[in-house]
């Protein structure tokens, strides 16, 4: 009902913009409180993330991660599921990428390895979402609880695997051997030198991510499965009436969601680190929730929100370098504020905006 009262541009443009503005306003106050100039801080943040080629490269690199985890959360949203296990699913997805790369890198070029890495990461991520999905579908165990528990299990499992099974013999590091050429995605700087991405790790997975956006859009709005997912999410009783199986819908949606989260590992492992290592996900899975919320669970919105959070990551790093009193933790505070306003307080401005819009439309109706 509520969204029906607003024109699309207000719903998808104005409200996210207001949320963002509020977040930055409060962040600015925080910056003032610690005795720095907020305008100066914004300048550094924006310049650091968009002002030069390498900065843009880092922003896009982070954005690639957020697109994957954002899409993962969004697909689950459409079925009314809250998958907050992107963190663990991406971590386990790393196994799939590593297996493909370790097995093939010495024999074939990267473009042969890539499809296997995509498949491997998606399958491992999906597998990690399968049990929570299955438990939700058949036992009613809430995915919010189970997926977050699975994040911890994933973390412990990976520590065990990396220290005991996958570790390079003779090494002190909890990581696999470094992949050869066949297990490394080309950096965009090597493909498009003129952009000047420099040492930024942005790589071909960006295009994999954009491709995933198109596929998710097709899935949700153009396929029968997407229709069933949306039906179930919007009104589960009506979905059952329509002959849509709740068990199948929940499980399949969680598999797709987990698979998308798992594919984040392609960017980190095959695109940047070139080895599987401990804790490479570092919060990307959780930020995906904010990205999906802010992007209105729509691929276009997710790309925009992912770029924004990429800017916060990259520009934030520059900011704490340039203004030492703004520590790394302060950057996290700012990111937290954006998540708070864009996600948790998403409906704060809505009633006011709706009120502002309706009388003017009523007047128009009268005049007509």
């Amino acid at each position: 009902m509520n969204s029906g009262q607003l024109p699309r541009w207000a719903d998808y443009g104005l409200i996210p913009f207001l949320n963002l503005a509020a977040a930055f306003l409060v962040s600015g106050l925080v910056v003032v409180l610690i005795g720095e100039n907020p305008l100066e801080a914004v300048k550094i943040l924006v310049w650091g993330s968009l002002g030069y080629g390498e900065g843009i490269g880092f922003t896009l690199f982070y954005a690639t991660n957020f697109i994957f985890t954002g899409l993962a959360v969004a697909v689950a949203f459409h079925a009314g599921l809250f998958n907050i296990g992107g963190e663990g699913q991406a971590y386990i997805g790393g196994l799939g990428v590593a297996f493909a790369c370790l097995a093939l890198d010495q024999y074939v070029p990267w473009y042969v390895t890539l499809p296997f890495a995509i498949l491997g990461s998606a399958m491992m991520g999906a597998a990690w979402a399968l049990i929570p999905g299955w438990l939700q579908a058949t036992r009613g165990s809430h995915v919010v609880i189970t997926t977050i528990m699975f994040n911890f299990i994933a973390s412990s499992l990976m520590v065990y695997l990396l220290n005991n099974i996958l570790k390079k013999p003779g090494s002190m590091q909890s990581e696999t051997r470094t992949f050869e050429e066949g297990g490394r995605l080309p950096f965009l700087n090597d493909i498009f030198p003129s952009f000047g991405f420099g040492y930024a790790p942005v790589n071909l997975s960006l295009f994999v991510a954009l491709g995933a956006c198109v596929l998710v859009w097709l899935l949700i709005w153009r396929t029968k499965l997407g229709f069933e997912i949306r039906s179930f999410g919007a009104n589960a009783t009506a979905a059952v009436y329509a002959g849509i199986s709740p068990v199948k819908t929940i499980v399949v949606t969680m598999l797709i969601s987990g698979g998308l989260a798992g594919m984040m590992a392609i960017n980190e492992i095959m695109g940047s680190q070139h080895r599987l290592l401990i804790d490479f996900v570092t919060g990307y899975g959780f930020v995906g929730i904010a990205v999906a919320l802010m992007g209105r669970a729509h691929p276009v919105g997710i790309v925009l929100a992912a770029v924004l959070f990429g800017m916060l990551y990259q520009g934030g790093a520059e900011l704490s370098f340039e203004m030492p009193s703004i520590t790394r933790d302060m950057i996290i505070v700012i990111q937290g504020l954006v998540i708070l306003f864009a996600g948790a307080l998403e409906h704060m401005f809505r009633p006011t905006i709706v009120r502002l819009f309706t009388p003017s439309r009523a007047l128009k109706a009268k005049e007509a």
């Binding site: 029968k224 039906s231 009104n235 009506a238 009436y241 002959g243 009523a362």
Partner: protein, 517 residues
């Protein structure tokens, strides 16, 4: 008694965005009278009453109570001015006693005990004065709905209400309980109370009110003395054109059975048997009506037959195929594939997805049909074309398949469901409460469609709590009470007779036969 009206409304206006729900409403309610307000769904009755009860503030206009201009800012203020309201859905705490519910919100001391014993005395006094007997210590959950409603009335009287607003009070009552309610209203009137009765049932208006006001599209179109008007005139005023209150149809010419239900038993999630050993037959070319007060197993029966709910035991023969409902795992899609259409009782909860576009709902449940898909993709072209055709054929307004379903009125939403189910041309159509919350104009249309369905040689199973509807449409009437079919009657069944069956009074005529044929 003075001539000052109990309530007077002058030029009340209220808009919700572009919707002008109340336009210059004038209303005078005489003290000590029963005043009916009738109108179609969406005519603005509820909005007007909500303004009177302080839920909404009017955009402009005056409210006068006992001749004095007042501002009613919230329901507490309304109660303070002696206005009480009995809502359509009772506002009672199920696991509290009658006394506790009556006192709830009107406790006059921090400690309950003292207040409760004083309240008990007051309640006793009220019960005597208005002949409203209820055991003050009974728990609400143990009381039948008729008595629960009585508690609601007592609640209002306890708060010294002089004016009582009843919103669609008979929706959940048996005819006998409704009659009893009307007697109570008479007593209230004789004691000098004023009653405002909101309803869409013409029969009730004629039976119990002194004066009736008719609303249409946000306007008060007429006020009549009930004795000087007729159902036909009121219906015409409500709709704005003359309407047929009866359903014109020829006698049925039933053929072979299309659906046979045998020994169906359904147990709900709490382990209670809600459908008990029910057997009946629907033949091609007839409408079989299932009458009964809401909550006697009809909903569960429908849901089981269409594959949404699992049965404990029983068989279903449809189009010659026999299905063991106790063991089969058929879902709603499978039942549709067996040529069974289903118009569910609650279109908001089940029949439609309100946040979807109209065209998306026009294929809900049929989205896997090859006619509407290309491989894994949906064929949006074909789907929209079909939606446009159905909109035209069923006169769905506004005629826009790209509109969100929530933006259609109740009647038009129901037409969307009906079009979807009927146009797939099923052999058997299950229909639950087809005209609940639907305006008179659309009711006529929906009834005609169902009769056409029958005349085309299909079997129709109709479940409705509106006895008038059952009697108008059905060729045979089965009455359900407490999960059992307690009687069967022909097309011309008497209302009183059906009413007794619905109330669970033992039926001599068919009890021996053990239900339907």
């Amino acid at each position: 008694m003075s001539d000052t009206p109990a309530i007077e409304l002058r030029k009340i206006n209220k808009s919700f965005g572009p919707v002008h729900a109340n336009k210059d409403i004038d209303l005078v309610v005489k003290k000590g009278s029963i005043h009916g307000i009738i109108g179609e769904n969406g005519a603005g009755k509820s909005t007007l009453m909500s303004i009177l009860y302080g839920f909404y503030a009017a955009d402009d206009g005056d409210i006068l109570i006992n001749g004095e201009k007042v501002t009613i800012s919230d329901s507490k203020a309304a109660i303070g001015m002696g206005i009480g309201m009995v809502h359509q859905h009772f506002m009672l705490v199920d696991n509290f006693s009658v006394l506790e519910n009556v006192v709830l919100g009107a406790e006059d001391s921090a400690l309950l005990a003292g207040g409760l014993s004083r309240a008990r005395t007051t309640l006793k006094h009220l019960e005597d004065e208005y002949e409203l007997r209820v055991d003050p210590d009974a728990l609400i959950q143990d009381l039948p709905v008729g008595l629960q409603q009585r508690v609601e009335i007592l609640k209002a009287l306890y708060r010294s209400a002089e004016v009582l607003i009843l919103d669609e009070p008979t929706g959940v009552l048996t005819p006998a309980e409704a009659d009893h309610l009307f007697k109570i209203l008479e007593v209230l009137k004789n004691e000098g109370k004023t009653v405002l009765l909101i309803t869409h049932k013409l029969r009730e208006i004629m039976k119990v009110t002194d004066t009736v006001s008719v609303m249409r599209r946000g306007e008060m179109v007429a006020t009549r003395e009930t004795a000087k008007t007729s159902m036909e005139e009121l219906a015409e005023l409500m709709v704005g054109r003359s309407v047929l209150l009866r359903v014109d149809k020829d006698p049925a010419t039933p053929e072979a059975p299309v659906m046979e239900v045998e020994n169906l038993t359904v147990t709900d999630s709490r382990g209670v048997q809600v459908v008990k050993d029910v057997s009946f037959t629907v033949r091609a070319g007839e409408i079989v009506g299932i009458a009964g007060v809401s909550g006697n197993g009809q909903s569960e029966l429908l849901e089981t037959l269409c594959g949404i709910r699992r049965a404990t035991s029983g068989t279903l023969k449809i189009n010659g195929e026999t299905i063991d409902l106790g063991t089969s795992r058929l879902d709603a899609a499978d039942m549709r594939a067996k040529s069974m259409g289903h118009v569910p009782e609650d279109r908001h909860r089940m029949g439609l997805i309100n946040s979807f576009y109209e065209y998306e709902n026009s294929i809900l449940g049929y989205h896997r049909d090859p006619a509407y898909s290309k491989g894994v993709l949906m064929d949006l072209g074909a789907i929209k074309k079909n939606a446009v055709a159905e909109i035209e054929k069923y006169d769905i307004r506004p005629p826009n398949p790209m509109l969100k379903t929530a933006n259609f009125s109740g009647g038009n939403q129901q037409k969307i469901v009906l079009a979807r189910e009927i146009e797939r041309d099923p052999e058997v159509l299950l229909v639950g409460q087809p005209t609940r919350g639907v305006d008179i104009g659309a009711i006529e249309f929906i009834h005609r469609r169902l009769v056409e369905m029958r005349d085309a040689g299909k079997g129709v199973l109709l479940v409705s709590v509106e006895l008038d509807e059952i009697r108008a449409l059905s060729d045979r009437v089965l009455v359900m009470f407490d999960g059992k079919i307690v009687g069967e009657r022909g097309a011309n069944a008497e209302e009183g007779e059906l009413g007794l069956l619905m109330a669970g009074v033992e039926d001599n005529q068919t009890a021996a036969a053990g239900g339907a044929q």
